[in-house]
């Protein structure tokens, strides 16, 4: 009986976590833009601008190109839903998963990919040249990202012998040495690279571009409008937020709640919000400093990160 109760509590914590993330996601986008603006010497639209955009988009009537199918209607929802599920799966506020749905990294990744696929199909559905282009590039990148992700995951999970995120995080918290260990560092760096690639940030993709031929993510959503666009945007921001949170918890595993008590959960919320905001700011600064890579240089970047991950694995073998 009591453990059923425990499960319910855990579930509530998860829902809280999701809510926090949803609320935070547009802000994160806003923060990065604002930081960029400031560093570039512009005033910036304020960190809440993305929220306003969402509200505006939700109020509009969607417009569809001729010959589009149910995919155009469903894909945006699928994307946002997958992001929400990920937000529920990753240990951000509390490292205390449901017993039936452990926060298994492979599951997390595959749910992310579900969103990726939805986006790619969305790009193809309208039958315009750019949509296909973006979709093709997007899939190419995620195809090359996947090995790196799994390798990084593998490296991180070797010390624990399991791919359960909460275990990994708590383990790193309990033995900080492993954070600084070569394996840990390499793995995290690799992970950061793939997060950038997967969420379409510089240097892989420029979210602020208006030139179709350089687009990846933007090209896919060219045909998307109104609430569909809102869902897509929210979904993508949510992914960014969650992944940043994950990286944060991996690098600085302190503050996360291990059991749902009234004391630890708020602390966990504060901790994760803080981590994410900091990382978002860092990201903003970094993006000012970086230029976008040519599309066919991207594989080199990913190969590099793959190498890092592989080294991480071998390193962890050496230390283990």
């Amino acid at each position: 009986m009591s453990d059923v109760l425990a499960q319910v509590v855990t579930l509530l914590v998860l829902l809280l976590q999701v809510a926090v993330m949803v609320a935070l996601a547009p802000v994160v986008a806003g923060v990065t833009r604002q930081v960029r603006a400031r560093v570039e010497g512009r005033a910036g639209a304020g960190v809440l601008q993305p929220w306003r955009d969402l509200r505006k988009l939700l109020a509009k009537r969607p417009v569809h190109a001729t010959g589009t199918s149910w995919v155009t209607r469903a894909a945006p929802l699928l994307l946002v839903c997958s992001s929400l599920l990920v937000a529920a799966l990753v240990p951000l506020v509390a490292a205390d998963p449901l017993s039936l749905v452990p926060d298994d990294l492979f599951v997390v990744i595959s749910v992310l990919l579900l969103g990726t696929v939805a986006l790619a199909l969305l790009g193809l559905d309208a039958g315009s040249a750019f949509g296909g282009m973006g979709s093709s590039r997007h899939m190419m990148i995620s195809a090359l990202v996947e090995p790196t992700v799994l390798m990084a995951v593998y490296a991180l999970s070797i010390p624990v012998g399991s791919s359960t995120l909460s275990l990994i995080v708590t383990d790193r918290r309990d033995d900080p040495a492993s954070i600084a260990s070569p394996a840990g560092v390499l793995a995290v760096v690799a992970l950061v690279v793939v997060v950038l690639a997967e969420t379409g940030r510089l240097p892989v993709d420029n979210p602020a571009t208006h030139l179709e031929l350089t687009m990846v993510h933007e090209a896919m959503v060219l045909e998307t409008s109104a609430r569909d666009l809102a869902w897509v945007e929210l979904g993508s921001w949510l992914r960014l937020t969650v992944l940043l949170g994950l990286v944060g918890n991996l690098v600085v595993p302190w503050g996360i709640a291990t059991e749902p008590t009234l004391a630890s959960v708020p602390l966990g919320v504060l901790a994760v919000v803080a981590k994410i905001t900091v990382l978002a700011a860092v990201l903003g600064v970094a993006e000012v400093a970086m230029a976008k890579l040519r599309l066919f240089r991207v594989p080199e970047l990913l190969a590099g990160s793959f190498l890092l991950a592989f080294l991480a694995v071998t390193a962890s073998y050496l230390v283990a």
Partner: protein, 665 residues
């Protein structure tokens, strides 16, 4: 006479009946009658398989003319599993064929061959001794060759494919026969039970293992023995392709399982390493070729090569870890292997049936000429989509569950300090990862280009939904794909019992708990959680949808220009272009660009033609020289028979003198 024995007997009888009907019934009714007969045969196989899988015993014995041990049909649990697979896929394929076959594919010989093919595939896992196995194996090979030849009169490619297939499959037979013969030479018996007495450490066992792996690999389409696969699958009628790809190819995997688990358990480490290497190679090469293929059936064929590679890799990992007695991960890898077998059977059947439906509806196999089919054939689109998810190993399909289990076994299979594992496991993981990524791209391409966007050809524009039996079969396949993904727990448990291991037990609502590695996957719970967290969004979306309806029928964004034609869309080829550039060295495409200039001008081009073809590198680099060399040798050898009686007498004279010297000195 037990139920299983009865089932085996029933299959033999039904097969004979089906052949008779196929030959005797007039063309008008043939599809229905023969198709039903074949379906019944397959169903009998499925039932027998289920019984055997459940532990039912029973055997048929047949004493042949030669003083060998009698032929034995006695499926064990593992055999029962594959028999069940063959039967299930067979039922779907036959059902589909009733609506599908037309023209030469519906001839007497084709239907008869289908019946024999089904029988062969159902006897292979039932066989209990070498001779019976080879007998069934050859029935399977011969019948499938006939099926590949369905369209031979009009289509030269079919003839060539059949020839390649016939030779490669004979290679497989020869290797298997040799391998078994080595074992028989060691143990003196032809029954599996006796063969199992071989000492795996002996050199002979090693020889036998390599021979058998080559033989079964050739059938399973492992690189570099896969060359027949991308030729034969596209040419065969789609229900035959489905059977060949989903079941026949698996028989090669079955053979390896029998060898690795039943005949030669506990072999040396290099066996496992060999399997891992072969599997990894096939997986990578197969998916690479698939990702750049634009003929949908060729794409599926290469993806088969990939999936078989993963299965063999999983088996290799299992054997490897067994060798280092880490039972948990080892058994997990084995379960993963079997899960891959099952899920691949499900989704590849659906995909091939779907491809057949496309062919049936549009007359096109080339993705570059398809598009927009989702409007014309929604059912097929749905089924194909689900199966594509399975092929891309996304939740919640069987493909995902299988790959997840495999990764879990690798994660847990860490053995610090041991060099072989320390190298093999990470490499295996990397290969799986890259494969998964490319598979994702491949099937997004296949689905998106074929079913979404606007038609790229006349045929695609005039497409229509296919007859009901075809739809039913395809959708049933899709249902299986999801079923395996939703309730992996019970299924995995049964599979584990089929190979006599623990390590998987059901948990929650059909969830799977891998005891060996302490990992849990409950797709139902996962989906529920997903729905729960996304409920608000969905509600909001629904509300908004009612309040603010959509505006449709406007032109897509054409970079400012208004008129956009379907020819401006991305095609399958252009979709894979970035990948092609990256893996240029591995794929070695042949490109040629023809520019015709305006008059004298070197700057103004009247037209530019760009052609790109991707040949199978292995075939070009390895097989073509081999064939050429053999032909050259043969041409030189003709000199032996140059018509001069003096030369002939010379041979005889030399032989005489030689013999005299040998016998007398």
């Amino acid at each position: 006479m037990t139920l299983v024995a009865g089932g085996l007997l029933a299959q033999l009888v039904l097969a004979a009946l089906a052949v008779v009907l196929a030959v005797s019934v007039p063309a008008r009714r043939r599809a229905l009658v023969a198709g039903t007969a074949c379906a019944t045969l397959a169903a009998a196989g499925a039932v027998t398989g289920a019984l055997a899988l459940g532990g039912g015993e029973g055997e048929l014995r047949l004493t042949g003319a030669l003083p060998l041990a009698p032929l034995v049909l006695a499926p064990d649990r593992l055999g029962g599993l594959f028999l069940l697979l063959a039967g299930t896929v067979g039922v779907l394929a036959c059902l589909y064929a009733i609506g599908y076959v037309h023209g030469p594919a519906g001839s007497r010989s084709q239907w008869a061959a289908l019946a024999v093919f089904l029988l062969g595939m159902q006897l292979v896992p039932s066989a209990g001794d070498v001779v019976a196995f080879l007998l069934a194996w050859e029935l399977m090979a011969a019948a499938s060759t006939v099926l590949v030849l369905a369209d031979q009169a009009r289509n030269p490619a079919a003839r060539e494919a059949a020839l390649w297939y016939a030779v490669m499959t004979h290679l497989s037979l020869v290797a298997i026969l040799a391998g078994f013969a080595v074992l028989v030479g060691q143990t003196g018996g032809t029954g599996y039970g006796v063969l199992a007495n071989t000492d795996p450490a002996s050199g002979a066992a090693g020889v036998a293992f390599v021979l058998l792996v080559v033989g079964f690999g050739a059938k399973a389409g492992l690189v570099p023995l896969h060359v027949w696969l991308p030729r034969a699958h596209p040419e065969a009628p789609s229900h035959a392709s489905a059977l060949m790809s989903a079941v026949m190819v698996k028989m090669g995997v079955y053979g390896m399982l029998v060898v690795g688990l039943r005949l030669l358990p506990g072999g040396p480490t290099w066996w496992a390493v060999l399997l891992i290497a072969l599997g990894a190679g096939s997986a990578l090469y197969g998916i690479l070729q698939a990702s750049v293929a634009s003929d949908v059936k060729r794409l599926l064929a290469y993806s088969t090569s990939e999936n078989v590679g993963l299965m063999v890799l999983a088996l290799g990992v299992a054997l490897l870890l067994r060798g280092y007695d880490v039972p948990g991960p080892a058994s997990t890898a084995l379960i993963a292997c079997l899960l891959l077998v099952v899920s691949h059977a499900a989704f590849k059947t659906t995909l091939f049936l779907g491809a057949g439906a496309i062919l049936h509806a549009t007359g096109e196999r080339d993705l570059d000429r398809l598009g927009g089919l989702v409007h014309a054939m929604p059912w097929t689109a749905a089924a194909f989509g689900v199966a594509a998810l399975g092929a891309a190993a996304l939740p919640v399909t069987g493909g995902f569950a299988a790959e997840w289990a495999l990764l879990q076994s690798l994660i847990a299979g860490v053995r610090p300090g041991d060099r072989v594992v320390a190298v093999a496991v990470p490499v295996a993981l990397a290969v799986i990862a890259l494969t998964a990524g490319l598979a994702l791209l491949t099937f997004v391409k296949a689905y998106g280009i074929a079913f979404l966007a606007r038609p790229r050809s006349e045929g695609a524009a005039l497409a229509h939904e296919v007859p009901v039996t075809m739809r039913v079969a395809t959708l049933a396949g899709a249902v299986l794909v999801v079923a395996v993904g939703v309730v992996p727990g019970p299924i995995a448990t049964v599979l584990a019992r089929a190979v006599g291991i623990a390590g998987a037990r059901p948990v929650g609502l059909g969830g799977l708990e891998l005891g060996g590695v302490g990992a849990v996957l409950d797709p139902v719970a996962l989906s529920v959680l997903g729905l729960l967290v996304s409920a608000p969004v969905l509600v909001l979306a629904a509300v908004l949808a009612r309040r603010r309806p959509r505006v449709t029928d406007v032109d897509g964004w054409g970079c400012g220009q208004i008129r956009t034609s379907p020819r401006m869309q991305y095609t399958a080829t252009s979709y894979a272009e970035p990948l092609m550039r990256i893996f240029d060295d591995a794929l070695q495409p042949t490109r040629d660009v023809e520019v015709t200039h305006v008059g004298e001008s070197r700057y103004m081009a009247a037209s530019v033609q760009y052609r790109q073809r991707v040949d199978d590198v292995v075939e070009v680099r390895a097989y073509a020289p081999l064939v050429a060399g053999a032909n050259r040798l043969a041409d030189r050898a003709r000199g032996v028979q140059n018509g001069s009686i003096h030369r002939y007498l010379g041979f005889a004279f030399a032989a005489l003198v030689l013999v005299l010297v040998v016998v007398a000195l």
